[in-house]
Symmetry: C2
Subunit: 456 residues, 2 copies
């Protein structure tokens, strides 16, 4: 009995000591992120000297080169490009739109949805019919919809506290209204922008066609435009809508996942993936979505290097290609991992903006989750108290297939959809300290993962 007590005492002392030393190292990591970070100027360069970088674009190539160069300059143990074949869709000329009541035209701000076909060169004009969900479409049926432009006015709900929940509830209307409306003979669709803000900025984003149904052009209208259009429809028996867009789909193009690694000293075969996606929509600069996530993730490795922290397990930074309209970068990383029979123990993605960090969401084996979550109190001094089951990230989700514990970095979500996929997603709307604290939070979690792994 005495022996057991001594052993227990030893165990608790050792645990307490490890906790103390972990807490000290985490404090150094956060300090480093806030006082010696590189992610903010790097994001500045990406946004201002390269700019938006949709898959297949020249900017996309430049961004790959830039991030690759950063990895090389940073002297990571390994740096390489992983080829990814990506779609190549181009917006074309600035879109035009108006609604017309009794011959009077009122211009509204729109943008083509990503993946949409063009309208006729001179645009399309037709009576517009407003609906709020797919059920309304169905009830109206072909009789009321044929030959018309469907206006899907489904606002994101401000009652959700977490804005991603509001997005989740509404984004299906952006994706699928064109295919649903085409079934009933609509000739085009205009979808209310996915944002909680009331402003004049249309928000783009991916939409999808159904190969068995005719393709019709789809655009997003600003929320102010949507409210105006809705009011016009309410007050007039006949409202027409006109829009013109010249987007075009080209053959697939060559792009790359940019990968850089710090090799683990004790279990190099166990890999922790950390990343964001390098591609972005082209209305803004892809600052929050997701230049921030890329630069924060690279900063994680930088912090290890600056502090001369030797990770026990391998840390793999990935700047994913093509999250926005194809997710091919994520799929490619999975294929690569399977081919090599890699042991990716965990994957962290930052793709919810460079805002003040709140914590992490987890998806995977519950015992592994419990093990990682059991360390959460180490993060409380930094107000990182959100530790919940939840979403990992679009790019890393594929890695579930190889058993990785998926971890989503969760920043404060209140401002994200103000700028998401819009012209306002620019560097000026990223706060330096918020971005840096996020990088530090991720580095702290990666440190624990690299020290202790995920096996219970």
């Amino acid at each position: 009995m005495k022996k057991i007590l001594v052993l227990l005492a030893f165990f608790f002392c050792a645990t307490a000591k490890a906790q103390q030393s972990d807490s000290l190292i985490i404090s150094k990591i956060i300090n480093q992120a806030l006082t010696n970070g590189e992610c903010y100027p790097r994001l500045n360069y990406l946004c201002k000297n390269i700019g938006p970088r949709l898959s297949g674009s020249l900017n996309g190539e430049k961004a790959v080169e830039y991030v690759n160069q950063l990895c090389v300059e940073q002297k990571l143990d390994t740096t390489f490009l992983q080829p990814v074949t990506v779609p190549h869709w181009v917006r074309g000329e600035k879109e035009q739109a108006y609604y017309k009541v009794n011959g009077k035209k009122s211009a509204v701000a729109i943008c083509a949805l990503g993946g949409s076909i063009a309208t006729y060169k001179k645009g399309i004009c037709a009576p517009v019919i407003e609906v709020h969900d797919f059920d309304e479409l169905k009830v109206l049926g072909r009789e009321k919809i044929e030959g018309k432009i469907v206006f899907m006015n489904h606002p994101m709900k401000s009652s959700f506290v977490h804005t991603f929940d509001a997005y989740g509830e509404a984004a299906g209307y952006r994706w699928a209204t064109a295919q649903y409306a085409a079934k009933y003979g609509a000739i085009g669709v205009v979808v209310r922008s996915m944002t909680l803000a009331l402003d004049n900025n249309p928000h783009t984003g991916a939409m999808g066609y159904n190969d068995t149904i005719i393709k019709i052009p789809a655009c997003a209208i600003s929320t102010i435009g949507a409210d105006e259009l809705s009011a016009a429809i309410k007050n007039n028996s006949q409202v027409e809508f006109y829009f013109r867009q010249s987007c075009e789909k080209f053959p697939d193009a060559q792009s790359y996942n940019v990968i850089g690694e710090l090799r683990g000293s004790e279990k190099p075969e166990e890999i922790i993936v950390i990343g964001g996606h390098l591609d972005s929509w082209e209305l803004g600069e892809g600052a929050h979505d997701d230049g921030a996530g890329v630069m924060q993730s690279l900063e994680v490795l930088h912090i290890f290097q600056n502090l001369k922290l030797q990770p026990k397990r391998t840390i793999r930074f990935v700047a994913f290609a093509n999250e926005e309209n194809g997710s091919r970068g994520g799929k490619q990383l999975l294929a690569y991992a399977k081919e090599r029979n890699e042991k990716i123990i965990a994957a962290i993605e930052s793709d919810e903006g460079g805002f003040t960090p709140r914590g992490f969401s987890f998806n995977g084996d519950s015992l592994k989750m419990q093990k990682v979550m059991s360390k959460q109190e180490l993060f409380y001094p930094y107000d990182l108290k959100y530790w919940e089951n939840g979403y990992g990230g679009t790019d890393i989700n594929y890695l579930k297939e190889v058993g990785a514990l998926l971890i989503g970095f969760v920043p404060d979500s209140q401002r994200y959809f103000d700028v998401h996929h819009a012209s306002t997603d620019v560097f000026e709307n990223v706060n330096k300290r918020e971005l840096e604290l996020g990088a530090g939070s991720m580095a702290a979690l990666v440190y624990l993962l690299s020290e202790y792994g995920v096996n219970p």
Copy 2:
């Protein structure tokens, strides 16, 4: 024994039921704040139609009228103005400054510190000497300082996770450098702005003189200006600094605390104070500091009214006068409470900006604190997990004398000092949802205080 068990079971069931009903009501409160709030348009009006409102100014009077009118329109049970005599300091013409090396002048952005005297009409120019803290001043002594302008270049430390800690460490240099430097014969001081951002905006704020020491003019220099000036001093043996400001102190003026109440239905004599301060510095619009706090506090009562929630205890909204340069509104409320022998059980202040709420900090009787903090899990679904001993607020702190539990509303602090006391503290930098969530959080806490009081 059985009886006791039955009683215990009854007690736990009743507690669980109350918790459930509290959780439902809090969810309605937050929903109301996010979907039916008035604080954002009201703040817009205050910022854009009235603007900055320093004590003693015409705008200050207009702001009092506006908030009083809101209370009346909102049909509170009681609305009244509490006279407060306030200081009246005026900035005067736009300040000018440059540093001079070998005859070459380089302009820098400055502003007079609040309460400072003017320079001579044509300005003052003298050799400038850089220090980083009061110890350096002391070591240099009269010999090195006499006749010079002292440049206090003490940066706020970015290593602090909570920016108010960084402010606390540094703000004394804004307040007291003039009196310390004058002791050694300096003829003026220029203080590095209190912000963590590197930009061209000087940040004002209160400074103080010591009546036994000669008064010298004091200004704040932007952080970019401070870095440039510091580099010039490092690279040159003789650097001169010039600045001109024409600020002036007038006789005290009449102002008011604006007060509005919802009367408690069961214990009306127990009062819960909730407020922010209505005065603001005049470089920006006083949006975060502290129009946000005023409008959030008034929204708390609005939410009770909209939901037809009858508070058991009295809720007193206060728009405090003169927090920035005198705190006379806070003192006056205390005097009023003492005169009437009022029972103010708790006081909440929102004066850290209209950012995403994180929680509350408490100051007062530990048993009362424990009682209130024991409810914190009700706030976890809204990510309000910061519940710590700490600061109440400048205006409410006086109420400690009458036994009030002081509660500081704690929003995320990362962006606050970017705009604090600067031209960037404008409505555009307030996010609607962040502001509203803050109001909802405060209303939820006020609801619990009004239901259960603070006595253990």
